[in-house]
């Protein structure tokens, strides 16, 4: 997922603990997510979900899979990449 892109979360590939934790800030399957910015050197990723900005560690962001609709195709990737 690139910066400024908007996508839909298709899966959170982590344990139930992580899923629950992300869920508390509305980061869950089916939610719309926008990547606001990313820090250098695998630093935190900042995303916007609903109208809240959330900073997520790089490792956690790797586990959030999103689908981004492009003009011709649908691209699937992790939030961190």
């Amino acid at each position: 997922m690139k910066q400024k892109e908007k996508g839909t979360i298709i899966a959170v590939t982590g344990g139930p603990g992580l899923k629950k934790r992300l869920e508390t800030l509305s980061i869950r399957k089916g939610a719309e997510i926008t990547k606001v910015s990313a820090q250098v050197m695998r630093g935190p990723i900042i995303v916007q979900v609903v109208n809240t900005q959330v900073a997520i560690g790089f490792g956690m962001a790797k586990k959030i899979m999103v689908e981004v609709e492009k003009e011709s195709n649908i691209e699937r990737s992790a939030v961190s990449s």
Partner: protein
């Protein structure tokens, strides 16, 4: 007595509502996790005295941090819950609300930040929401006090067990509710949002961080210096000195009581940094040297807290914090520690695990000097120009970094990742900010100054009974041999167990060289926390880990103090 709990997500304004209901002021800021333990207060409800409890913010009834556990435990004791909800983030808040409505406790919902929701173009149909949830929903704006009367009036309508749906269906249910009650109108990005984005992008963010820190530093210095030069020093010199000289004549110099109250006279004159009487140095140091900087620091800190900048700074320095085994949010306790280590220690509760808290507390106790101490270090070394101060604070920073790196390497486990909601920028509400500043300044005057006075008294007694001379003889191999300091500095080190500001103050009359002043300041900052911080550390870490932490401090100070002494004696 009936108990009312204020429960809700972090950073929705529970503490502000608490202050409104009870008149008991508690610190509120614009970042998640300001309240880490619960605060009790009382209010009058139709002639009945009820207890109101401000609970740390939680996202769900399944806790992840220590602060959240505290909150969930409290729920069992409540007779009524005011669920404080952020109207701008209704969807997310409803997760907790629906869980609460399944508990066996009556609930009223305060739809707080109602004004901000309006500004964001969010329209919520309150009546419909009330109908769906089956409990009163009251729009409030706690900062200005709007809706508070209505909230109190409707407490009696609170109901329990109104929304029984299974946990699996919860998010689907929330989706349905949102669809029915909320409309969001489109609007353009505001300036504060653009600024918000810029301050968390790597390049612009670091530039902004540098600018913010530089300005903060200059403002603190300017206010602190000006208050001292144009207010406190003239007050002492013009008004207080003549009074003290008269008292000195009455008491008769040389008498025991004169020694305690006025201290020593130099050529018949009072020297506020050297006389060391209760009414001379004992008042001058805390009021004319420390207080101005405390005031200036908390003014700037409160502004940073309330604007919402601190968590953003945390995100920018997340990588650096990981090298010391912490994550970015740990800048918040460190910043608070710069004011006073005691609230700093408490604030480490926002960190997830025991390991992080141990590292954060140890680093804070060793390498984060409090404002009282900094003010005195400026008084001691500032006269040599910025170079000396640079060495002192540079050394402390390097120690912080290297020691943190080593602790992270040695201690088992790894540092958890940052996961935090970024609050929107808010223009600090001036009344609230001033109240917070007033409270913190008063805390120093009423809790700090008496300890300084007690310290000055104790020093005099210890001198008179020659205890300090005795300990000085015993400790001289380390103090003179390793650190290159005169024997007399031992008095300061003894006092440092009690309070760091007066300890540095005791170095002032010793006529140390610049080199010695630098080593002494660093050693005093590092070797042991002051009594108040130490007590707090035991409370938060337990005895065993505190002993470990103290061991780390003693080893570090021996190495760093000796090395610094050697380096400074070699250089020209």
């Amino acid at each position: 007595m009936k108990k009312i709990l204020l429960l809700g997500n972090p950073n929705v304004g529970k503490s502000v509502i608490f202050t409104r209901l009870t008149g008991t002021y508690v610190v509120a800021s614009n970042y998640p996790g300001t309240t880490v333990e619960f605060t009790k207060g009382y209010m009058n409800l139709k002639g009945e005295k009820v207890e109101v409890i401000d609970v740390p913010g939680i996202y769900s009834l399944e806790p992840v941090s220590k602060a959240e556990e505290v909150a969930v435990d409290m729920l069992k004791e409540g007779d009524l819950v005011i669920n404080v909800v952020d109207a701008t983030k209704l969807e997310r808040s409803l997760n907790l609300t629906l869980q609460l409505l399944k508990q066996n406790v009556p609930v009223v919902i305060a739809l707080n930040l109602w004004d901000e929701a309006g500004h964001c173009g969010i329209i919520i149909e309150v009546d419909k929401l009330e109908e769906i949830l089956g409990v009163p929903v009251v729009p409030t704006c706690a900062l200005t006090g709007e809706g508070m009367r209505n909230l109190i009036l409707r407490l009696k309508e609170a109901k329990a067990n109104t929304y029984l749906k299974s946990d699996q269906e919860r998010w689907t249910e929330i989706g349905k509710i949102i669809h029915q009650v909320q409309k969001v109108t489109h609007r353009h990005h505001t300036f504060s949002e653009k600024l918000g984005d810029a301050s968390i992008r790597p390049i612009t963010g670091i530039f902004i961080a540098g600018l913010v820190l530089f300005i903060s530093f200059q403002v603190i210095r300017f206010i602190g210096e000006s208050l001292i030069k144009y207010f406190f020093e003239p007050v002492f010199n013009i008004l207080w000195t003549p009074l003290m000289l008269k008292l000195s004549l009455i008491l008769n110099p040389g008498s025991f009581i004169h020694k305690i109250l006025i201290g020593e006279l130099f050529k018949g004159e009072i020297n506020y940094t050297a006389s060391f009487g209760l009414l001379t140095t004992g008042l001058f140091v805390p009021l004319a040297m420390v207080l101005p900087y405390i005031f200036a620091f908390y003014l700037v800190l409160s502004f940073m807290e309330d604007s919402g900048y601190l968590p953003r700074l945390g995100i920018l320095v997340d990588n650096i914090m990981h090298t010391v085994g912490l994550h970015g949010l740990a800048v918040i306790p460190m910043f608070l520690g710069l004011g006073c280590n005691v609230p700093g220690v408490l604030a480490t509760r926002i960190l997830e695990g025991k390991r992080e808290r141990f590292i954060a507390l140890t680093l804070m106790a060793i390498a984060v000097p409090c404002m009282s101490q900094i003010a005195l270090i400026i008084g001691l070394i500032g006269k040599y120009g910025p170079f000396g101060l640079g060495i002192v604070f540079g050394t402390l920073f390097i120690v912080w970094l290297v020691l943190g790196f080593l602790l992270n390497l040695i201690l088992k486990g790894e540092s958890p990742e940052i996961f935090v909601e970024i609050p929107p920028y808010r223009w600090p509400y001036i009344g609230v900010l001033l109240k917070k500043l007033g409270l913190r300044t008063a805390d120093f005057i009423f809790h700090g100054v008496p300890w300084v006075l007690f310290g000055v008294f104790l020093v005099n007694i210890l001198y008179i009974f020659k205890v300090i001379k005795f300990v000085g003889q015993i400790a001289s191999p380390v103090i003179t041999g390793f650190f290159g300091l005169p024997k007399e500095t031992v008095a300061a080190l003894i006092m440092g167990f009690l309070r760091k500001d007066i300890a540095v103050g005791m170095l002032l009359p010793l006529n140390l060289t610049m080199h010695q002043s630098i080593v002494a300041s660093v050693v005093l900052a590092m070797y042991f926390p002051c009594l108040a911080t130490f007590t707090m550390m035991i409370r938060e870490l337990g005895v065993k880990d505190t002993i470990k932490s103290v061991f780390v401090m003693l080893v570090t100070v021996l190495i760093v103090g000796t090395a610094l002494n050697l380096i400074l004696s070699w250089s020209p």
